[in-house]
Symmetry: D2
Subunit: 162 residues, 4 copies
């Protein structure tokens, strides 16, 4: 079992510089998360972009879809910003009949003491290995189908679309 | 979707006192893990025991099986020490035809900076929501069937039994 | 021995919201730091302002000086942003002949796993209890006189002015 | 300014293995603490022993005193277990007329999320640079003279001897 991980940026990878700087998207943290958890899995990581997901364009999503389509591994994990994660998930629907694709990210940066990042990446991996082919979002401790998840900004969580 | 969580102790819940004390199993930490991750799930937690899993007896395992059998929710998460997690998983096989049962724990206590506990609980939750009925172990970033996992003490990880 | 703590904001108190928000100065964290360290000291905390120190004005500094002058405790700790900490320290010189005044802050927010905040507050407290009356800066593991410290932005540390 | 650091073990350096092991004293963590805090100081570290301080013998204390006496730097920081820290501090009294010697340690291991270790080491460094020659204990946010500190086990803190 080999897992392919694509990273696109988002809160999970946010870093901080100092008073004169802004909070920016840094290098992908998913490797640190897997190493700290001593995950006994085989994976490769490819960075597609490093953006706040509010700034992802249609071209970015087309590129993500292309990379996923071209990937040989049937198990694909994508780290992504939360604001447009649902959009990207929908843009990936139908990309493959035999791949399991799970998107995850974080409401609080990995570098924070209280980050949800390790929990979310774990949750995504659990779903990745247990699900039928399809596109899923693993956030807030839940596994949603691509078309069923939305971010509730006020409550800082993902919910099922009614 | 309502999840039932049973806790039994183990490294995940270990605490430290001071030079004159020993390292002991403390209160279950799974609630803190779910709250820090802002998990949007419904769950109840029942503490079955608070033991190092090397000290779990056949009576303890019988009691765990009884609790699982009597539980109405079809989604059951069990936190457990790592040393005899495989034994308990096997002891639970066949307990139900329609329940998904996932055991998890940690190689490093939740209270440690570098704990694998949040990642593992996330992984277990991801599998719980995506799997066919059966008994599973979620450790080291992998989802194992009950009879297929063993702890490799030297490498500090779970592996598939060959 | 009673210690007076004034807070003014800065990186030490920075929080993060989400992709659509910016990194902002939140509530003072010095109390959490002292409670986590189980500090056996008597103190009161007064929040003067909640600003990036690059935005502190002459009026803000006049107000800080006024509060320090009016304070009865001879031991005063001030948490402050790093960019203009030296300026405020100099503005406080001569405010009192019998008070020890120590400014500190952080290069990385308290909420980060890798924050220098607890170490710095500890360092400031150690100096506060051991120094002659005067104005000091406790940053980067060193105790500087007010006029002797400057921030080296490139090296992310405080240095002695040559 | 060059600081000499001696390490002797204690809770600050405790590590955890697994259910079958005990909690043991590991390698000194003071370097990690200083590096995380990006301390801009010059120091060398010498490990004297690696013991729970309840197991330190008169010979151990004689050896610590010898090392301190032979040391050229006038600024000496000692990391130590909490249970007999006061004993060692008293054993060091009179060792030198021109050295500042500060002992510190932790009530919770450095590897814990909620450790007091970085705060305590910071506190010790602040006192080290600001104090008259003598032997001091920096614990619980306070600077005690060697003969004035005692550990209150029940309250998990250091107090002034009445």
């Amino acid at each position: 079992m080999k897992i392919k991980i694509f990273t696109t940026g988002g809160t999970i990878d946010k870093v901080y510089f100092d008073d004169l700087s802004q909070y920016e998207v840094g290098k992908p943290r998913v490797r640190e998360i897997l190493e700290t958890a001593k995950a006994n899995i085989t994976y490769t990581i490819t960075e597609i972009c490093r953006k706040d997901s509010i700034h992802l364009t249609d071209e970015d999503r087309a590129q993500i879809r292309e990379k996923v389509a071209a990937e040989k591994s049937p198990l694909i994990l994508i780290t992504h910003g939360t604001d447009s994660m649902s959009l990207t998930a929908k843009a990936l629907e139908g990309v493959s009949d035999d791949k399991v694709i799970v998107l995850t990210g974080a409401m609080n940066p990995y570098l924070f003491k209280q980050s949800d990042a390790p929990f979310n990446v774990g949750c995504a991996l659990g779903a990745l290995q247990s699900s039928e082919p399809g596109v899923y979002i693993a956030m807030s401790g839940r596994i949603f189908k691509a078309s069923e998840a939305r971010k509730n900004r006020g409550k800082k969580r993902f919910e099922k679309v009614e």
